[in-house]
Amino acid sequence: MPDLPLRFLAILLANGLLVGAMYALVALGFVLIYKATDAINFAQGEFVMFAGFLAAGAIHLAGAPWWASALLTIAAMIGFGFVLERVVLRPLLGRPIIAVIMATIGLAAVLRGTATMAFGGGTQTIPLPIPDTPLRLGPLILPPIELVGAGVSLGFLAAFGWFFLKSRIGVAMRAVADNQQVAMAMGINVQRYFALAWALAGVVSALGGVLWGAMLGVDNQLALVGLKVFPVMILGGLDSVVGAVVGGLIVGCVESVSAGFLDPIVGGGTKDFIPFLLMIAVLMVRPEGIFGRRRIERV
């Protein structure tokens, strides 16, 4: 235990907030899909991993500069989202929830196998032009990659907020999410917006893949980010963009603080475990999450 617990706590919290913002970005992918299509994407982590592999591949194999590879990854993931919706998700419309869950789990297996087969099992790097020397901010020491990641994430989340509230497409997507039948009656092409939601999830995963990949390195383990995001979503509410942000920040902080204070006592690994405990507690007390909408079920 360090001699200045308060300063230690501040460092942990700052780190947690930065990482949390990046969790929020991945969680946004889930929320987008859930809001628009009522499906949950258990392959979100694998999306991120796949995007990371694509970005790393574009840099190392094709020798593209980092910005070109990021753009390329985004474009590829948009295409991937569209194809996926058309081939896998659309035939499953109106089927029980376990069908969609299992389909995305199957998809996760396919992506993991394909990525390792195509890019090898080793860890690859995504070199972004970001210095390695940690930034000193008063008492805090922050790694620049996390700062950039959090900045990009928050910027993107704000852009999404604006997109949903103001733009015509965003309003249509909210209408679809709210009530598919009414949206259809108002002349909205629901299926097109389903496809769009998957494409947007692709964009989010591409960004997540580049950022997380630059931070952790790209390999199979990157997909675990997807599992981390379940507590984030449940905490914030499955259908709330604001919830994704707040949930991400809370989980980031809780994780970081528990890793700092509890790990020395119980011998490590609390980081992967405390968020899930928190999630169970939320599920027991308020299943719809902090910002989620309560659904009333009628026979």
Binding site: I40, M102, A103, G106, A108, A109, T116, L238, L277, V299
Partner: protein
Amino acid sequence: MFHSETGIFKTSYAADMALYPLPVARWAVAGLAVLFVFVVPWVASPYLMTLLNLVLIAIVGAVGLDILVGFTGLISIGEGGFMSVGAYTAANLIVRLGLPFWLAIPAGGLMAALVGIIVGIPSLRIKGLYLAIATLAAQFIIEWLINHVTWISGGIEASIQVPPPELFGWKLVGSRQLYYFLLFFAVLAIVATLNLMRSRIGRAFIAIRDRDIAAEIIGINIFRYKLYAFAISSFYAGVAGVLYTYYLGIANYEQFGIDVSIDYLAMIIIGGLGSVLGSIFGAIFITLLPEATRLFLTDFGSIVFSADTIRRLVPNLTLILFGGLIIFFLIVEPEGLNRLWRNVRNYFRVWPFSY
């Protein structure tokens, strides 16, 4: 004995609920029993016996999971966690107290059932997706606890060595003895499930799956029955965990990870949800898939690829095939292998005159 049906002529509920709707089925089951008890273990190679043993363990787990997911409609991604609870409970009892297998196996099952009930408590308030995520959390929490509490896991390695099961002072070692041991429990699991599903409890499960609110209105205490479903399903999972521990001779938490949970879900999906026979088909299919892929690639792939490439390809290709098949079955044949089997059976049942 050998005849073609012309219609349904049942005059009592007992006849309607009979396990064997046709005399042919009775003969078929008897034939299979003879085949698997007297013929297979004496002709199969040790390698095949190993695979068969794995299939038998998978059948116990898959049938149990199907009670929860297929019959009651509660999605669980925590099968691996429940299996590890059974495995470690039994391993600790066997090593510390020297319990024989016929006490250790139910003990492992009961402990898993208890944990299952605890995990099932949130199902009072949440269902569907949320419940799936809650069971996923349970999986991680159980894994973490077993890995970090040395009192359970027996040290840093988190694995406990277990002596082979003993019957009347006769140690069951080698794949053939283990085969009979596992076959007994697999058959027990199948028969118990078939009978459970004909009982009041089983029909309550199905009512809850079909529409839980409607089930509540016709007088089923859904909370209690959901907990029953969790308890019974976890009991099976725990037993499967103990059996696997006996099979390996060691309890190790790495054998019961999230991928195991997903494997079992895949079994019941590919086999066909809500059918015991389907779970058996699924268990066979998913257990043999990696081996089949490996054999196919080493036999036919060697024409194109080098041995080294193949070794690298096999695990990834298995993974792709695994995921692809899940998606394929979900889209093309949601009722799974069981449905395919029924189609074939119904074709031959009325065979020469199908109109």
